[in-house]
Symmetry: D4
């Protein structure tokens, strides 16, 4: 089965966050690949990754980076595939604003689909929804996932309504 | 030819911004529909729009809104299609931070693909790149578009290098 | 005795914060109900909650949510009851700005009465003051509460003035 | 007919903004009074206003102020009535953050129901919803108002869908 | 010897911060008094404190408060004495911006001399410099204090230059 | 009569703002001097100004500067007199945050009494209140000024209450 | 004479700002070249520019860009020359924070020497100071420039002190 | 061998951060000196350091400071050498914004080459790149350093691609 989503990140230290994208894709039945590509430390590798992604069958690229986060935008500049950017809150980040703004505020012509700060899980789900728009199986998996979210809320509600919030708080 | 992208906005006053998404889709050869749907003033209409989009053949929804912008996230909660959010800087906006954060910072499970403030043009291009990942014609149109961006920069560079920046500034 | 205040929140994980609203209402003698309703994961449940609240005798709704917090505003769009919004600082929040702005900056026509970040206690007191404006008993309870706040400050002042700030600091 | 809402503001220069609260109340059939009370320039007048409001039959106070905006919070500290705060963007405001934060971030025990920056119209509607929770006529007026908001959106949508967005944009 | 500086704060919980103002005044030989006065919980006490300060011989008031911090500005509105405001970072503060802006951004006519976030020590020194401008002994104490600051820096420099930064870092 | 307040600013372009400090001092009967001293362009002149101010009889220095505003803090480091800092919003300012924070957030030991953005008028009044704490005439002028502020508010209130807000708005 | 400074910018629309860098270098006697290089639209051109700069004799690169500004950081990743970044406030910028943070907050290993928002003039002077550290003529030009800054301040001061600030304000 | 880089900081407490600049310079073979110089506590020492640096053979000054950080800008005002500013996040910093803005936003004429918050390592590398632009040995050391950064990324990538991200995460 072919790989549809490529997950890349600027540093191995981003892996604990970015692994959530991989887990979401696994749960939704989407094949992916995952590796490290740094815009600033391996620019040639980044060019190569971005320019060959389409011909290798990739449909969506998820790119995570922190601080002055250039990886998502630079990759988007070199491919016509949709690129999802995950702003990561790095250790000397100014509250995450740096990675959010350097991924979100792309100039006209080169969009990056930005998700929430450290929102790698949502990046995975968004990638699945892109694949699922053209693939009924994945689309159905997403519907099932949405249903499971709903059921968890309903269970919480039932627990609180039945036993009272004080009991629910103790658990 | 079927419609692949649905463009919605919270108010007709958002049209001057959101029209840029339509123009980008036209330039890239992607069929779209465009209307007004308000999360806060027509919640039923929003539910209906979101829940029927997929069966009507829509592949991507672009939703623009300002201030406490709930339309993109609420639509995303009711469909498994990818939703692109355009934060619009409304008249009493706190510098655009309100719409940016109320679209971007979605909770785990319900992503919105957020673009730059007032970035409707990029929303159109992003929607096209999603369609183009599965449709070679649109993909090629995007490649041609990227090439045209490159050529404009090269022309500017040539003009400045040939005639000097003072002359270029006069034009 | 009928229930006058409905407390809802987007997730059970918001309960430790939102319980303070319940405690404040209990202290002020106002009946309430409390449950979980998610704008993004249970949109139908939210519509149902909002649209039936008034006929069930509810006078005020308190809604707490974090991140891109849509629950208070969406509920406000579906009821003519006053809705109090509590911005909650979620784990990946950008310093709380996301929930504050997505609750506060509602468009013209659909107000949400916003309180401070994590200010569920104040939401409870505000709800009591709304009920108390039309119910002398609750109004008197509020007056007594205000008096107790005053007395605590006066006790602190007396302690410091009598024993000196160094002694007061040791306690 | 008795006056149910008191509108106050820190300076006559706030009147162009605060007049929108009065207009909203008129439209919704709620009686109000409107005057100038400054926390910093007429503290005695403020104390008097706040402490007598309840006995004069007022049910809700709307207070607007800019910059380091202390009027809403100080009034709230001297009455058990609900106080709605309108942050006004003054001429040397730091983008409105000053008035928003000095009204919103009240300490535990003294809530202010804060609305959006310059959101006096919403303050009027919120005050009406508080009165309307206990007065069926006002409640019905609010329902009719909400319906009119909905119809305006539907008209816009119909116009765009019928004539196309280019025509709609021209108007 | 008469008391020249009054230190007040909104809550006993502010004492660990505000004690630094007292310590600075003690070190510089300025007599002070210190107590708790809350703008929101003891408004009458605040009015009384502010209006009698001058006749009691006070020359400067230092007022500390957190969140929507109204104490310094309200006191300043009721006395012609200089008021120094100390923004305190409270537990649910939005990074301290709330107290900074609600103290700093006072409207024209009612200044508050604002110091850094949690800067009670500097508030004490500033109060001493005000007294010292008219009292040669205090002025000389300040000069001696400034000299001691200088000597500490010079010692650090000498240590690093003599033993190297690695050794200095170990200590 | 001796000069009690020295007003300095980083550039002649700051004069339209800083002139308001001079006007306030004139109105309150305080003698002052006014000139241009730049921390970055005339550091020697700044050192000389700061170190001789006290012996020349100056009691308070008002220093205004924009952007990375170092003048108030540097002057404060070289004198034991109280220094009032006026953050000025320069043409390429980031919304005034730069001058506010570079004046306000002084390290422990070297306070600057910071006023609101562009708040030169308040700097003048604050300087007068410092002089007035030790000079009964100036103190009385301040009391009269406060009374005039109060009367203006009361006039506005009377106008609105007598003729209605619509008439008042027309003027 | 060889070219020592390369000025590049992401778009011709940045030229009015970036021209100030050129003017500063001309005034200080430093040879430069100026052209347009876009990180996002001409990535290959950017790689080529960065990788050949050193061998062409360039000593410093000045790169200006707006929004999610990646040009300075990407160029810095591909050369060992010092790169000066100029954050430009683009038309849909969020108050300039986007370009400031995407240039300033570079990860460890790849510095960019960032100057103020729209601070192209200072970028030119900084580049000259780098060249001037190794070239006595340029160093002397900088000393002369600093002297001229000082003289302008002294003239302003003299004008105000001689004729009074009212006269100076009229000019 | 002569010293080319001077590292200074406002306080010995900044040493743990600023030591990273020293380590980077050692790794890249650049001679440096390091000491403590405070703008606010030892202004004379600062003047002396800045004015003699050039004649002592220094080519670049690195200055680190926190809060209202004036050291880098003041030193830059007194030398024609390039000055690199390191914003340090001090204990009562408002998220680092204070030191970032008081170093970055220098007025026209006096640039400071600003690096990321706590980015002393990058300050060291930037200083080396300035020296390396005129010294082939240092330039080559930088090329080797860049190569080592690249190799570390490639190793991480290989590890993840060979053993899978789950294994890589365990290490």
């Amino acid at each position: 089965m072919s790989v549809h989503v490529g997950i890349i990140m600027g540093s191995k230290s981003d892996l604990p966050i970015m692994a959530e994208a991989a887990l979401a894709l696994e749960e939704l039945g989407v094949n992916y690949e995952l590796t490290v590509v740094s815009a600033h430390r391996t620019p040639d590798r980044m060019v190569d990754y971005a320019q060959t992604a389409r011909e290798r069958g990739i449909k969506v690229i998820i790119a995570g980076a922190g601080g002055a986060a250039h990886l998502p935008g630079m990759v988007a500049s070199m491919t016509s595939l949709p690129v999802i950017g995950v702003p990561i809150k790095s250790s000397n980040s100014i509250d995450g604003w740096d990675s959010v703004l350097s991924i979100l505020q792309m100039p006209g012509g080169i969009p990056v689909a930005t998700v929430a700060l450290n929102g790698a899980k949502n990046a995975g789900i968004l990638a699945a929804s892109i694949v699922g728009a053209f693939d009924a199986t994945i689309g159905n998996n997403l519907d099932a996932y949405k249903k499971s979210l709903k059921e968890k809320v309903e269970e919480s509600a039932k627990e609180i309504e039945t036993f009272g919030w004080r009991k629910a708080l103790e658990k």
